[in-house]
Point group: C2
Chain length 161, copies 2
DNA sequence: CATGAAACTTAGCTGGC
DNA sequence: GCCAGCTAAGTTTCATG
Protein backbone atom coordinates (compact mmCIF):
# COMPACT_ATOMS: atom_id res chain seq x y z
CA UNK A 1 0.00 0.00 0.00
CA UNK A 2 2.18 2.75 -1.31
CA UNK A 3 0.76 5.92 0.08
CA UNK A 4 3.58 8.32 -0.38
CA UNK A 5 1.27 10.64 -2.31
CA UNK A 6 -0.88 12.90 -0.20
CA UNK A 7 -4.60 12.34 -0.31
CA UNK A 8 -5.07 15.77 -1.79
CA UNK A 9 -4.71 15.60 -5.55
CA UNK A 10 -1.46 16.86 -6.95
CA UNK A 11 0.78 19.57 -5.64
CA UNK A 12 3.18 20.83 -8.28
CA UNK A 13 6.25 22.98 -7.92
CA UNK A 14 4.30 26.18 -8.38
CA UNK A 15 1.99 25.21 -5.54
CA UNK A 16 4.97 24.47 -3.34
CA UNK A 17 6.50 27.82 -4.20
CA UNK A 18 3.25 29.55 -3.30
CA UNK A 19 3.10 27.71 -0.01
CA UNK A 20 6.70 28.53 0.76
CA UNK A 21 6.09 32.24 0.29
CA UNK A 22 2.80 32.26 2.16
CA UNK A 23 4.18 30.41 5.16
CA UNK A 24 6.73 33.20 5.50
CA UNK A 25 4.55 36.22 4.68
CA UNK A 26 0.86 35.56 4.42
CA UNK A 27 0.05 39.25 4.06
CA UNK A 28 1.79 39.58 0.73
CA UNK A 29 -0.59 40.92 -1.90
CA UNK A 30 -1.70 38.58 -4.63
CA UNK A 31 -0.16 40.96 -7.10
CA UNK A 32 3.26 40.81 -5.49
CA UNK A 33 3.03 37.05 -5.13
CA UNK A 34 2.15 36.68 -8.79
CA UNK A 35 5.08 38.85 -9.83
CA UNK A 36 7.50 36.97 -7.67
CA UNK A 37 6.42 33.65 -9.16
CA UNK A 38 6.06 34.96 -12.71
CA UNK A 39 2.38 34.16 -12.85
CA UNK A 40 -0.60 36.17 -14.02
CA UNK A 41 -2.49 37.68 -11.11
CA UNK A 42 -5.63 35.79 -11.95
CA UNK A 43 -3.78 32.51 -12.18
CA UNK A 44 -2.04 33.11 -8.90
CA UNK A 45 -5.23 34.06 -7.11
CA UNK A 46 -6.93 30.98 -8.49
CA UNK A 47 -4.21 28.61 -7.30
CA UNK A 48 -4.21 30.13 -3.86
CA UNK A 49 -7.96 29.74 -3.66
CA UNK A 50 -7.70 26.12 -4.69
CA UNK A 51 -4.98 25.45 -2.15
CA UNK A 52 -7.27 26.85 0.48
CA UNK A 53 -10.23 24.84 -0.64
CA UNK A 54 -8.22 21.65 -0.75
CA UNK A 55 -7.18 22.34 2.81
CA UNK A 56 -3.48 22.56 2.05
CA UNK A 57 -3.58 26.08 3.35
CA UNK A 58 -5.34 25.65 6.66
CA UNK A 59 -5.61 29.29 7.67
CA UNK A 60 -3.48 32.34 8.20
CA UNK A 61 -2.53 33.75 11.56
CA UNK A 62 -0.79 36.79 12.92
CA UNK A 63 2.10 36.05 15.25
CA UNK A 64 2.19 38.27 18.30
CA UNK A 65 5.11 39.08 20.53
CA UNK A 66 3.98 37.24 23.63
CA UNK A 67 6.93 38.46 25.67
CA UNK A 68 6.11 42.10 24.89
CA UNK A 69 2.55 41.40 25.97
CA UNK A 70 3.82 40.65 29.44
CA UNK A 71 4.57 36.93 29.25
CA UNK A 72 8.32 36.72 28.83
CA UNK A 73 8.72 33.30 30.38
CA UNK A 74 8.41 30.18 28.25
CA UNK A 75 8.59 26.61 29.36
CA UNK A 76 8.33 23.10 28.02
CA UNK A 77 6.30 20.94 30.38
CA UNK A 78 6.35 17.18 30.19
CA UNK A 79 3.29 15.49 31.64
CA UNK A 80 3.13 11.85 32.69
CA UNK A 81 -0.09 10.03 33.44
CA UNK A 82 -0.92 7.40 36.01
CA UNK A 83 -3.79 5.73 34.20
CA UNK A 84 -4.23 5.57 30.46
CA UNK A 85 -7.85 4.99 29.62
CA UNK A 86 -8.67 6.35 26.20
CA UNK A 87 -11.42 8.57 27.50
CA UNK A 88 -9.20 9.95 30.23
CA UNK A 89 -6.35 10.73 27.87
CA UNK A 90 -8.64 12.40 25.37
CA UNK A 91 -10.30 14.48 28.00
CA UNK A 92 -7.03 15.59 29.52
CA UNK A 93 -5.67 16.47 26.10
CA UNK A 94 -8.57 18.81 25.55
CA UNK A 95 -8.33 20.23 29.06
CA UNK A 96 -4.64 21.01 28.64
CA UNK A 97 -5.29 23.06 25.51
CA UNK A 98 -7.74 25.20 27.46
CA UNK A 99 -5.33 26.28 30.17
CA UNK A 100 -4.52 29.99 29.85
CA UNK A 101 -0.91 30.35 28.77
CA UNK A 102 -0.72 27.02 26.97
CA UNK A 103 0.49 27.60 23.42
CA UNK A 104 0.60 24.08 22.04
CA UNK A 105 0.13 20.55 23.25
CA UNK A 106 1.67 17.36 21.89
CA UNK A 107 0.34 13.93 22.70
CA UNK A 108 3.41 11.75 22.41
CA UNK A 109 4.54 8.16 22.67
CA UNK A 110 6.97 7.25 25.43
CA UNK A 111 7.13 7.54 29.17
CA UNK A 112 5.77 11.06 29.07
CA UNK A 113 2.32 11.40 27.58
CA UNK A 114 2.10 15.10 26.82
CA UNK A 115 4.58 17.81 25.99
CA UNK A 116 3.33 21.36 26.47
CA UNK A 117 4.72 24.65 25.35
CA UNK A 118 3.56 27.38 27.71
CA UNK A 119 4.04 31.09 28.38
CA UNK A 120 3.83 32.87 31.71
CA UNK A 121 4.31 36.33 33.18
CA UNK A 122 6.89 35.21 35.73
CA UNK A 123 8.14 32.23 37.70
CA UNK A 124 5.29 32.53 40.12
CA UNK A 125 2.68 32.42 37.39
CA UNK A 126 4.46 29.50 35.81
CA UNK A 127 4.36 27.56 39.04
CA UNK A 128 0.67 28.30 39.42
CA UNK A 129 0.00 27.22 35.87
CA UNK A 130 1.62 23.85 36.48
CA UNK A 131 0.39 23.22 40.00
CA UNK A 132 -3.11 24.58 39.73
CA UNK A 133 -3.99 23.47 36.24
CA UNK A 134 -1.93 20.42 35.40
CA UNK A 135 -0.72 18.58 38.49
CA UNK A 136 -4.14 18.99 40.00
CA UNK A 137 -5.68 16.72 37.41
CA UNK A 138 -6.37 13.27 38.92
CA UNK A 139 -4.88 11.25 36.06
CA UNK A 140 -1.62 13.23 36.10
CA UNK A 141 1.13 11.37 37.88
CA UNK A 142 3.98 13.82 37.46
CA UNK A 143 5.23 16.85 35.54
CA UNK A 144 8.63 18.15 34.56
CA UNK A 145 9.04 21.82 33.74
CA UNK A 146 11.93 23.09 31.65
CA UNK A 147 12.55 26.78 31.25
CA UNK A 148 12.97 27.83 27.63
CA UNK A 149 16.05 29.96 27.03
CA UNK A 150 15.20 30.58 23.42
CA UNK A 151 12.96 29.34 20.66
CA UNK A 152 13.47 29.44 16.92
CA UNK A 153 11.53 28.41 13.85
CA UNK A 154 13.01 25.63 11.78
CA UNK A 155 13.02 25.57 8.01
CA UNK A 156 10.18 23.06 7.95
CA UNK A 157 9.39 20.82 5.01
CA UNK A 158 9.06 23.40 2.25
CA UNK A 159 11.79 24.44 -0.20
CA UNK A 160 13.58 27.78 0.04
CA UNK A 161 11.17 30.46 1.17
CA UNK B 1 12.65 47.37 39.39
CA UNK B 2 9.07 46.47 38.74
CA UNK B 3 8.91 45.55 35.12
CA UNK B 4 5.57 43.87 34.85
CA UNK B 5 4.61 46.29 32.09
CA UNK B 6 5.85 45.36 28.64
CA UNK B 7 8.49 47.59 27.12
CA UNK B 8 6.07 48.54 24.38
CA UNK B 9 3.88 51.41 25.55
CA UNK B 10 0.39 50.50 26.56
CA UNK B 11 -1.80 47.75 25.24
CA UNK B 12 -5.44 48.29 26.08
CA UNK B 13 -8.38 45.94 25.83
CA UNK B 14 -9.17 46.96 22.29
CA UNK B 15 -5.63 46.12 21.23
CA UNK B 16 -5.91 42.77 22.93
CA UNK B 17 -9.18 42.11 21.15
CA UNK B 18 -7.58 42.98 17.82
CA UNK B 19 -4.67 40.66 18.53
CA UNK B 20 -7.03 37.89 19.58
CA UNK B 21 -8.91 38.07 16.29
CA UNK B 22 -5.80 38.41 14.16
CA UNK B 23 -4.07 35.45 15.77
CA UNK B 24 -7.05 33.34 14.73
CA UNK B 25 -7.74 34.81 11.27
CA UNK B 26 -5.12 37.15 9.96
CA UNK B 27 -6.77 37.41 6.56
CA UNK B 28 -9.86 39.14 7.86
CA UNK B 29 -10.48 42.47 6.10
CA UNK B 30 -10.06 45.64 8.07
CA UNK B 31 -13.71 46.37 7.46
CA UNK B 32 -14.88 43.12 8.98
CA UNK B 33 -12.49 43.48 11.88
CA UNK B 34 -13.77 46.98 12.60
CA UNK B 35 -17.37 45.79 12.54
CA UNK B 36 -16.69 42.90 14.84
CA UNK B 37 -15.01 45.17 17.37
CA UNK B 38 -17.47 48.02 16.96
CA UNK B 39 -14.77 50.40 15.79
CA UNK B 40 -14.62 52.83 12.94
CA UNK B 41 -12.64 51.44 10.02
CA UNK B 42 -10.14 54.27 10.22
CA UNK B 43 -9.57 53.70 13.92
CA UNK B 44 -9.21 49.99 13.46
CA UNK B 45 -6.77 50.30 10.58
CA UNK B 46 -4.74 52.79 12.58
CA UNK B 47 -4.51 50.56 15.62
CA UNK B 48 -3.47 47.57 13.56
CA UNK B 49 -0.78 49.61 11.87
CA UNK B 50 0.51 50.81 15.22
CA UNK B 51 0.53 47.28 16.62
CA UNK B 52 2.64 46.23 13.68
CA UNK B 53 5.01 49.14 14.01
CA UNK B 54 5.44 48.55 17.71
CA UNK B 55 6.34 44.96 16.93
CA UNK B 56 3.46 43.46 18.87
CA UNK B 57 2.31 41.91 15.63
CA UNK B 58 5.45 40.26 14.38
CA UNK B 59 4.21 38.99 11.04
CA UNK B 60 1.48 36.86 9.58
CA UNK B 61 1.89 33.37 8.25
CA UNK B 62 -0.18 30.81 6.43
CA UNK B 63 -0.39 27.43 8.09
CA UNK B 64 -0.07 24.51 5.70
CA UNK B 65 -1.22 20.95 6.17
CA UNK B 66 2.16 19.31 6.42
CA UNK B 67 0.67 15.83 6.59
CA UNK B 68 -1.23 16.35 3.33
CA UNK B 69 2.02 17.52 1.76
CA UNK B 70 3.47 14.08 2.35
CA UNK B 71 4.92 14.41 5.86
CA UNK B 72 2.40 12.72 8.12
CA UNK B 73 4.86 11.76 10.85
CA UNK B 74 5.63 14.15 13.65
CA UNK B 75 8.08 13.71 16.47
CA UNK B 76 9.45 15.49 19.48
CA UNK B 77 13.20 15.01 19.69
CA UNK B 78 15.13 15.73 22.87
CA UNK B 79 18.79 16.49 22.33
CA UNK B 80 21.45 16.30 25.03
CA UNK B 81 24.94 17.72 24.66
CA UNK B 82 28.28 16.48 25.87
CA UNK B 83 30.07 19.79 26.06
CA UNK B 84 28.43 23.13 26.69
CA UNK B 85 30.63 25.92 25.41
CA UNK B 86 28.59 28.95 24.53
CA UNK B 87 29.85 29.05 20.98
CA UNK B 88 29.13 25.38 20.49
CA UNK B 89 25.61 25.61 21.83
CA UNK B 90 24.82 28.67 19.74
CA UNK B 91 26.16 27.09 16.62
CA UNK B 92 24.26 23.87 17.15
CA UNK B 93 21.09 25.79 17.83
CA UNK B 94 21.38 27.46 14.47
CA UNK B 95 22.30 24.22 12.74
CA UNK B 96 19.28 22.41 14.16
CA UNK B 97 16.91 25.03 12.74
CA UNK B 98 18.35 24.43 9.28
CA UNK B 99 17.65 20.72 9.14
CA UNK B 100 14.93 19.96 6.59
CA UNK B 101 11.82 18.82 8.43
CA UNK B 102 12.56 20.70 11.63
CA UNK B 103 9.57 22.87 12.51
CA UNK B 104 10.70 24.50 15.73
CA UNK B 105 13.59 24.31 18.16
CA UNK B 106 13.61 25.09 21.87
CA UNK B 107 16.79 25.69 23.80
CA UNK B 108 15.83 24.60 27.29
CA UNK B 109 17.21 24.33 30.79
CA UNK B 110 17.62 20.89 32.31
CA UNK B 111 19.34 17.68 31.39
CA UNK B 112 18.25 17.95 27.81
CA UNK B 113 19.48 21.01 25.97
CA UNK B 114 17.20 21.17 22.97
CA UNK B 115 13.68 20.06 22.23
CA UNK B 116 12.79 19.79 18.56
CA UNK B 117 9.50 19.44 16.80
CA UNK B 118 10.02 17.70 13.48
CA UNK B 119 8.02 16.31 10.55
CA UNK B 120 8.95 13.40 8.30
CA UNK B 121 7.51 11.40 5.43
CA UNK B 122 7.82 8.06 7.22
CA UNK B 123 9.72 6.23 9.95
CA UNK B 124 12.69 5.72 7.68
CA UNK B 125 12.97 9.42 6.93
CA UNK B 126 12.58 10.21 10.61
CA UNK B 127 15.43 7.91 11.50
CA UNK B 128 17.61 9.50 8.85
CA UNK B 129 16.75 12.96 10.09
CA UNK B 130 17.88 12.10 13.59
CA UNK B 131 20.89 9.98 12.77
CA UNK B 132 22.27 11.89 9.82
CA UNK B 133 21.57 15.43 10.98
CA UNK B 134 21.46 15.47 14.75
CA UNK B 135 23.33 12.55 16.29
CA UNK B 136 26.12 13.11 13.83
CA UNK B 137 26.98 16.46 15.40
CA UNK B 138 30.12 16.12 17.57
CA UNK B 139 28.74 17.98 20.58
CA UNK B 140 25.58 15.87 20.68
CA UNK B 141 25.76 13.21 23.33
CA UNK B 142 22.35 11.59 22.92
CA UNK B 143 18.89 12.00 21.48
CA UNK B 144 15.45 10.76 22.41
CA UNK B 145 12.75 10.62 19.77
CA UNK B 146 9.08 10.55 20.70
CA UNK B 147 6.44 9.96 18.08
CA UNK B 148 3.67 12.54 18.15
CA UNK B 149 0.19 11.00 18.18
CA UNK B 150 -1.52 14.34 17.92
CA UNK B 151 -0.87 18.04 18.29
CA UNK B 152 -3.24 20.82 19.22
CA UNK B 153 -3.09 24.57 19.64
CA UNK B 154 -3.61 25.89 23.13
CA UNK B 155 -5.60 28.98 23.93
CA UNK B 156 -2.44 30.97 24.50
CA UNK B 157 -2.27 34.16 26.49
CA UNK B 158 -4.95 36.19 24.75
CA UNK B 159 -8.60 36.48 25.83
CA UNK B 160 -11.43 34.75 23.98
CA UNK B 161 -10.68 34.80 20.28
C1' DC C 1 -5.17 25.52 -17.29
C1' DA C 2 -3.38 30.17 -18.07
C1' DT C 3 -4.31 34.81 -19.52
C1' DG C 4 -5.60 39.85 -19.96
C1' DA C 5 -8.93 43.40 -19.29
C1' DA C 6 -13.29 44.64 -17.35
C1' DA C 7 -16.33 45.72 -12.67
C1' DC C 8 -16.05 45.57 -7.98
C1' DT C 9 -13.95 45.88 -3.26
C1' DT C 10 -10.69 47.48 -0.17
C1' DA C 11 -6.92 50.13 1.86
C1' DG C 12 -4.53 54.52 2.62
C1' DC C 13 -4.79 59.26 3.23
C1' DT C 14 -6.47 63.97 4.25
C1' DG C 15 -8.68 67.50 6.75
C1' DG C 16 -12.07 68.47 10.10
C1' DC C 17 -15.01 67.37 14.02
C1' DG D 1 -11.20 58.41 18.55
C1' DC D 2 -14.56 59.13 14.66
C1' DC D 3 -16.50 60.59 10.12
C1' DA D 4 -16.52 61.69 5.18
C1' DG D 5 -14.80 61.82 0.95
C1' DC D 6 -11.38 60.89 -2.14
C1' DT D 7 -7.57 58.32 -4.76
C1' DA D 8 -4.77 54.59 -5.55
C1' DA D 9 -4.35 49.84 -5.33
C1' DG D 10 -5.85 45.24 -5.23
C1' DT D 11 -9.18 41.41 -6.09
C1' DT D 12 -12.71 38.85 -8.65
C1' DT D 13 -15.11 37.60 -12.73
C1' DC D 14 -15.41 36.13 -17.26
C1' DA D 15 -14.63 35.49 -22.06
C1' DT D 16 -11.01 33.86 -24.75
C1' DG D 17 -6.72 31.18 -26.69
Amino acid sequence: MARSQPDVGEVDDVDLAILAVLTARADITNKALAERLHLAESTCAHRVRVLRRRGLIIDTRARVDIAALGFPLRAVVNVRLGSHTKAGVTQLFQALTQIPGVIEVFHVAGEDDFVLHVAAADAHALRDLVLEHITVHPSVRSTETHLVFDRRDGVGVLPAG
